[in-house]
């Protein structure tokens, strides 16, 4: 039997070194994973607030802009309950629309962005600066229905899209009021302080749109605009059948870009920044990322335009019993009336004629009027003398 060779002195160290190498690679893999996790957004739900602020038929293109973003956002997975859609006027059922219940974005009526299952939350006169700010900040009267609220939390990614007519530092709402960039920045700061968003993407398609994001100061906001200060955003193409311009250039090319995106695509924000070069858009689109913590290279388009779905995978089988009917327990017996109930008479003429109106007003009693007149007459005769009496009686 060969003598057991004593383990060489260097074996433990080599073993240790090998082990360390393996663990080390595992550890570095773990660190890399953690590092990548850092670049992924930590949001759990997505919301969208889409606002069109223009009224009147010739502003058809602003409604088409908003509806095309709505359509993309719905297609990529955000449900209607998480979208607050505000349209300041009704174009689809406008009497001047030659094709009712449709809003087109491409000429020759190729794409109907209005669709068949649209749900507009704020319509016509409800789109005001006050309502918009209330939706953002959450300071809403208590009886507002759920579909009109932005119920976001601190893990929500919110997309805010605004379009209409604007100028240097303001956006016009319905031709009667304006919202300034300072108000908007303050509203976003309120949202940040109340932890109403995780990350926010703000897109604006108006003339001089870049002025609207100049004043933002809250963290985690990325902003895109269709034109710089001093430039006008131009509209794309008119349709001769409908008679108005159908879309704005910037949103038209954004829509074409979004049509290529599907819920699992890995396209990032840098592609969205390049979506409309000067040759196509005539104006210079701008963007602002200094308030945003992550690198736009690592931000996916679907982080804002798509929706996170929480999926649980289970391997346990649950049997469904086809014979399980009648979950209602025996319902308690409903009250039976003692005598048969009847329907009300629709026009009981006799009852109506003899209906006495409620005497809610207080009439002073007749004696009061008489006493008042007696007082007046007494004062008159005391002042002017009794000789007038015989002319009265």
């Amino acid at each position: 039997m060969a003598a057991a060779l004593p383990a060489p002195r260097w074996l433990p160290t080599v073993a240790a070194a090998l082990l360390w190498a393996c663990c080390g690679s595992a550890v570095t893999d773990g660190i890399q994973d953690q590092a990548e996790q850092f670049f992924r957004s930590g949001h759990t739900n997505n919301w969208a607030v889409l606002v069109c602020t223009s009224r009147f038929w010739f502003n058809y293109r602003h409604v088409a802009n908003t509806l095309s973003v709505y359509r993309s956002v719905k297609r990529l997975g955000i449900p209607d309950s998480h979208i607050v859609l505000m349209l300041a006027d009704d174009m689809a059922c406008n009497p001047r629309n030659p094709k009712p219940a449709t809003v087109f974005s491409h000429k020759n009526m190729e794409l109907n962005v209005y669709g068949d299952d649209v749900e507009v939350d704020y319509r016509s006169y409800e789109v005001t600066v006050e309502n918009f700010l209330r939706v953002l900040t959450g300071r809403i009267p208590p009886s507002t229905p759920r579909s009109k609220r932005l119920l976001s939390d601190d893990r929500s990614n919110i997309l805010i899209y605004m379009t209409g007519h604007g100028g240097n530092g303001f956006l016009k709402f319905q031709d009667s009021e304006e919202i300034t960039n300072v108000e908007l920045a303050d509203a976003f700061e309120q949202m940040w302080q109340k932890r109403r968003y995780n990350e926010l993407l703000f897109i604006i398609d108006t003339c001089q749109g870049a002025s609207m994001y100049e004043r933002f100061y809250s963290p985690n906001i990325m902003a895109l605009a269709s034109s710089q200060v001093g430039e006008d955003s131009l509209s794309h193409q008119p349709d001769l059948g409908i008679g108005v311009h159908l879309m704005d250039r910037y949103t038209f090319y954004v829509l074409e870009f979004l049509e290529e995106i599907h819920p699992a695509s890995q396209t990032n924000m840098n592609d969205l920044f390049q979506v409309c070069p000067r040759s196509l858009c005539v104006s210079t689109p701008g963007h602002r990322t200094d308030l945003f913590q992550r690198d736009p290279q690592n931000v996916l388009i679907t982080d804002f335009f798509g929706s996170v779905r929480k999926v649980e995978i289970t391997t346990q089988t649950i049997p469904l019993d086809p014979n399980l009917v009648g979950l209602e327990t025996r319902a308690p017996n409903d009250e039976m009336a003692a005598e048969p109930l009847k329907y009300a008479e629709q026009l009981p003429v006799a009852q109506i004629i003899h209906q006495k109106p409620k005497q809610k007003d207080w009439h002073p009693p007749g004696g009061f009027i008489l006493g008042l007149w007696a007082l007046i007459i007494m004062v008159f005769f005391k002042t002017y003398g009794i000789k007038h009496m015989k002319y009265i009686f």
Binding site: R55, P100, D116, K148, Q346, L347
Partner: protein
């Protein structure tokens, strides 16, 4: 051990459930489509979906909803609603050319609600209910407030079972400016048990339904008798949708109609959850000759009913009968006219009305309503309900009602004057209409000046006056026997019939569009510029005139050296050069 437990549990389940099975189902769904050709050549299609639930909704702990939608059931139990009627309409039903409607609705949004008598604050419940409904139906019903809500005292009696009719539990509001579009149809379709996937609801495509002269969708909730003895209450939800297809824009001038031409879809199956699913086509002819309408495919049965005082014949297609889809998998009902166009008679309906605004200028005006009774020998009363907004100040002393040249005094008048910015005018009158007559009701008003913040963003469009409501019991030509509500088609049981000699009809007039004196909103900038310029020029000139003084000045002579020398001489005190 486990097996024994399972058997015991099974036995308990069997014993627990009534009768070993579920018993008769407690809710049911009926769907129906009625196609009626109108005298003017257009075609009216009325969809009705009725869900009926044999349960008491006001009881606590109702949580299992099957066919009755949960959104509406929760509303009823939370706000203690007894009846709810909401309609959203685009267009106007032209009674004179189209005939009497089955259920007319005013243009815009109309909401009227009867509350239970246990409600303490009706106004608060009404406000909250309209807010919640605005979210449910994507309509701006949150604009309903005290400035457009009224409490009628004689119209709008409950359509369902009622034992107390105290009118302070009733609220009525109309929003004539409301637009109806696909976003209102979408939640309406979602309330149907089968959605828009099966049954008659597959025909409801927005692009065709809004390309019509008249589109009205409504939701009616009311309590009804559960059976003939009427000792217990069931809840009924009716969803109705009426559209009128124009002969010229859809029909291309021809009067042949088919389901595919109207809806661009055909029916392939009935809703599996429906107990009854039928299509009725009105094939009654006014004259006694053979039908003037040919219907393909041939109907399996024909139903005769007395509707609105007239005996009418309907072709019936029962989607639940297996023989209907034998020939082809889809059903496309086609209607062809056998006789040429001009041989149709246009009979005027017994009761129709018209309303218009007259006057000139932006200060005063007059509202006139014309009510026509074309019955040859019967007179009947009608209740007229007018709601006028507060900014049109009505002068009730100018109210004049004339019939055939003579004054007609109403048997009942209820007038509630408006309060500025708080309450609208309410005028309710019960007027007797003599046979074959025209009654004209006129009242003058004055337009108020609104505060500049109260104008809408488009004030030059005008301001709407809501349609007035006419409720009447119209005498019928033939005697109508009261039919059982369960066996008869849905369109005959909209209003509870009291006796067979007259039928109840509710008509609406046109809404009015009135211009108020509107300031020119572009003027402030111009005014500021002009005023500032005028003030600067005038005031500046006056100031100069008043304060400018003149003094003589020596002409300066000599150059720089002389001036310097003068300065030095001045310092020395010596007279200058």
């Amino acid at each position: 051990m486990a097996g024994v437990v399972a058997v015991v549990l099974g036995l308990l389940l069997l014993l627990g459930s009534p009768g070993g099975s579920t018993g008769p189902p407690r809710d049911s769904l009926r769907e129906e489509l009625l196609l009626s050709p109108l005298p003017s050549g257009d075609l009216a299609a009325t969809f009705q979906f009725r869900a009926r639930w044999d349960s008491e909704l006001h009881r606590e702990g109702v949580s299992h909803y099957r066919l009755f939608p949960k959104a509406l059931g929760q509303l009823i139990s939370k706000f203690l609603v007894r009846e709810l009627h909401l309609s959203l309409t685009q267009g106007f039903w032209r009674t004179r050319t189209w005939g009497q409607p089955y259920l007319q609705a005013p243009a815009g949004a109309e909401l009227w609600v009867w509350f239970q008598d246990s409600v303490t604050d009706v106004d608060k419940a009404w406000k909250e209910l309209s807010n919640i409904l605005s979210g449910t139906f994507c309509a701006s019903l949150n604009f309903i407030d005290s400035t457009n809500t009224v409490t009628p005292t004689a119209s709008f009696k409950p359509l369902g079972l009622a034992n107390v009719t105290d009118h302070h539990l009733l609220r009525y509001a109309v929003l004539p400016r409301e637009v109806v579009c696909t976003e209102n149809l979408t939640p309406w379709k979602k309330l149907l048990p089968c959605g828009s996937k099966a049954g008659l609801a597959v025909l409801l495509k927005a692009e065709r339904l809004f390309h019509t002269s008249y589109h009205s969708q409504a939701v009616h909730i009311r309590p009804i008798c559960r059976d003939a003895s009427c000792l217990s209450v069931s809840w009924e939800l009716r969803q109705t949708l009426t559209v009128v297809f124009d002969a010229f824009s859809i029909g291309q001038g021809k009067r042949d109609w088919s389901l595919f031409k109207m809806f661009s879809r055909t029916v392939t199956e009935a809703c599996p959850l429906a107990s009854e699913s039928k299509i009725y086509v009105d094939i009654s002819s006014k004259t006694q000759e053979n039908e003037l309408l040919e219907v393909t495919p041939l109907p399996l049965s024909v139903h005769e009913a007395s509707v609105q005082g007239d005996r009418r014949t309907y072709a019936v297609y029962d989607l639940l009968s297996p023989s209907l889809f034998n020939v082809s998998r889809s059903l496309n009902v086609q209607l062809k006219w056998k006789r040429p166009q001009d041989s149709l008679d246009l009979s005027t309906p017994v009761l129709h009305a018209q309303r218009y605004v007259s006057g000139y200028g932006l200060q005063t005006g007059e509202i006139s309503t014309l009510i026509y009774n074309t019955h040859p020998y019967r007179a009947f009363p009608v209740i007229l309900l007018e709601t006028v907004p507060w900014y049109l100040r009505l002068y009730v002393h100018t109210l004049v009602i004339t019939t055939k040249g003579k004054e007609n005094k109403p048997s009942y008048i209820h007038y509630q004057p408006a309060q500025d910015r708080r309450r609208p005018h309410l005028l309710e009158m019960l007027i007797q209409l003599p046979a074959n007559s025209v009654t004209k009701i006129t009242i003058q008003f004055e337009r108020a000046l609104l505060k500049w913040t109260e104008y809408t963003p488009d004030p030059n469009h005008g301001f709407y006056v809501s349609p007035s409501v006419l409720s009447a019991l119209v005498p019928s030509v033939i005697a109508m026997k009261p039919e059982d509500a369960e066996q008869s088609p849905l369109f005959t049981s909209l209003f509870p019939s009291s006796d067979g000699s007259s039928y109840f009809v509710r008509l609406y007039t046109e809404p009015l569009l009135v211009n108020l004196p509107t300031p020119d909103f572009s003027m402030p900038y111009n005014v500021i510029c002009l005023t500032c310029t005028v003030v600067a020029v005038c005031y500046g000139s006056f100031y100069n005139l008043l304060t400018r003084t003149f003094h003589v000045e020596e002409p300066s002579s000599g150059g720089l050296a002389k001036r310097l020398a003068n300065i030095i001489r001045k310092v020395r005190g010596v007279p200058p050069l």
